[in-house]
């Protein structure tokens, strides 16, 4: 069996069913030591792949959630100011001065490591997940490029900190902003689609092993056809799993058994008022009937 297939089956053991595209992209990015950039709609399992990879490689997952205005102090490092001030006062009372104090308060003891610095200072290579990179500003993206190519971070007071281990980097993007070509070029790329019917069935079977086979087929068929409706927020894989959990929790074996339960469990799939209005019970029943 070739390497990338064994990687795929390793992921499958952890409950993640990856498409050939994704498994190959992941394999190549691990082999070449390049970051993996994943794009796709929300809820297709982009974030989950990093978590699963960390489990499969038996290493730590370090996550950096991006947001608008994310800055170096939150992504890389920050000095512990309160402790620094206290230390200055204490050493002033001991009669120490100038360079000694400075050396002390700008030592690693007073450095708060944030995800990026943490990731390059581990003993074993961790998985670094940079989530929703498109939400961060472009300046941050440029800085990230620098870190990702050199794997070293410069703290003016301390000097350059080089990586003790190279993290496996996974970046995800929801496409709210166009990423720069420079970042794209530096990454291995894969676009994650909503899973097809067979894959989604496999995912459901992996995550809820005790679900009834017929119900599983119904659930997947129902969600797949729901995705083709005009919706503001298309249900992802996570929603599908919630839906399945809700149905098994309510103890039904057939989607068409009880319209009330179907209606109630739709809350796990339809997340906006407009979508709820767009899919009234009749439509849901029609879709469920087709899926059966």
């Amino acid at each position: 069996m070739s390497d990338w297939k064994s990687l795929a089956s390793q992921l499958a053991e952890q409950g993640y069913i990856a498409s050939p595209d994704l498994a190959m992209a992941l394999h190549i990015s691990l082999k070449l030591g390049r970051p993996l950039l994943l794009e796709g709609a929300a809820g297709v399992g982009k974030t989950e792949i990093a978590r699963t990879l960390a489990n499969a490689l038996d290493t730590r997952l370090i996550r950096l959630q991006c947001y608008e205005g994310l800055d170096a102090a939150h992504a890389i490092y920050e000095w512990n100011y309160q402790r620094q001030l206290l230390a200055i006062r204490a050493s002033a009372e001991d009669g120490k001065t100038g360079p000694d104090v400075e050396k002390r308060i700008f030592s690693e003891e007073f450095l708060l490591e944030r995800p990026l610095l943490q990731a390059i200072r581990q003993d074993t290579s961790p998985v670094l997940l940079i989530d929703e990179i498109d939400r961060a500003d472009q300046e941050f993206e440029a800085y990230l490029l620098e870190v990702l190519s050199d794997f070293q971070i410069t703290v003016p007071e301390l000097g350059t900190l080089t990586a003790t281990s190279r993290p496996y980097v996974v970046l995800t993007s929801n496409g709210t902003r166009d990423l720069s070509d420079a970042l794209r070029r530096r990454c291995i790329y894969s676009y994650v689609e909503y899973p097809d019917r067979a894959t989604e069935l496999a995912i459901l079977a992996a995550r809820c092993p005790d679900i009834d086979e017929r119900l599983a087929a119904q659930i997947v068929g129902f969600v797949q056809s729901l995705r083709r409706e005009e919706l503001e927020k298309v249900p992802g894989v996570a929603e599908m799993l919630d839906f399945a959990a809700a149905l098994t929790g309510l103890g039904i074996n057939d989607l068409n058994d009880d319209p009330e339960i179907l209606r109630a469990s739709l809350v796990t799939l339809l997340k906006t008022q407009a979508d709820r209005a767009n899919v009234p019970l009749e439509v849901a029943q029609r879709l469920a009937g087709k899926a059966a």
């Binding site: 050939p20 190549i28 070449l32 794009e39 709210t176 990454c187 291995i188």
Partner: protein, 395 residues
Amino acid sequence: MTKITRFSGRDPGASARVSGFVGHLRDHGFPLGVRETEAALESLGHVAAADPFEVCLALKAVCSGNHEDFDKFDILFDSYWRNQGRVRNKIVKTNKSAAPKYSRTSQEDSTQQTNAAGNISSPDTGGGLGEVASEGEGRLVASGVQNLMKKDLRELLSPQDIAAAEVVARRLADAIRDRRSRRRHAAIKGDQIDFRKVVRKSLSTGGEPIRLPRRRRPERPVHLVALCDVSGSMTVYARLFLAFLSGLIRADATADAYLFHTRLVRITQALRDDDPLRSLNRLTLLADGFGGGSKIGATFDQFGKTYARRFVSGRSVVLILSDGYDTDAPELLGSALKVIKKRGCKIIWLNPLKGWKGYEPVARGMAAALPYLDMFAAANTLESLAALEPELAGI
């Protein structure tokens, strides 16, 4: 899958073929360099290089960089390695030899114009659209008929116009600032204390923080997205607005521009071309249907579902240049604008007709759009665009 490209006997080997393939992708718009060729070759060492499926997957992961490239990769792979790409290559070649003819001269020679006019009979791609609601009234109304006549935009625009518009566009782009950053910069009258500096300064006073340096949120430029109506009713203003768009795109590296009539076309790439004349040529090709009908609702709906998802965010300002005469139902325009508005952007509508004396937004589409607009202003000359600067600064 038995078709396999036969490379000639003199072919220098596998790595040359792979770099040939990268060149083939480059010809089709993939932004690839030597580094990618290297990575592609390296990646082949980690898969079964004799298995076409694995090789395709591996090269796809390395060479594609965005969703569009990712989707068209399979076809390009087949066309190079599976003997379907010969014809395509030839087309690329003739294009190249034709290109210098356009870029060498800045004179508008007549042969080029006849070239452009000679394409009238090109196959109609959107024929279905054209038959919708053709109203044959002799007044200024929006028409749903697609104009298949290609107008040469060089008749409308000159590089000098663009240069003048560029100045205005730059000033406007600078006037609109975003004041919602979460990052902070040093500032004397900042609203927050800069602790890092406090610690540093307190060293000299034995740990007493005497001076308190401050910082505040900086003002940032916004991302401008311009949608320009080039339907029949807007033809008289097209010259101004196209010049403005070219100026805008040149002045602001993050700006984005679109044309619409019965369809929506993204023209950012064309406008960004270094050679102004070639840029106009590209624009002419893109603006097929120029001066035809207007389907504002449908095009905005399309915009909201496609480009807006990628390019419009909370930091964007969507600039619409249109007279609001629409053949679609006004509800469609309203709902489309609602979707765009939901991206968190500001919407500014510049309507050339608003400059007319006693103008009321009676076009039904315009009335439906009003609730979603942050600003509705007149603009029919370059001067009136420039005069908008103080108002835009207040947004």
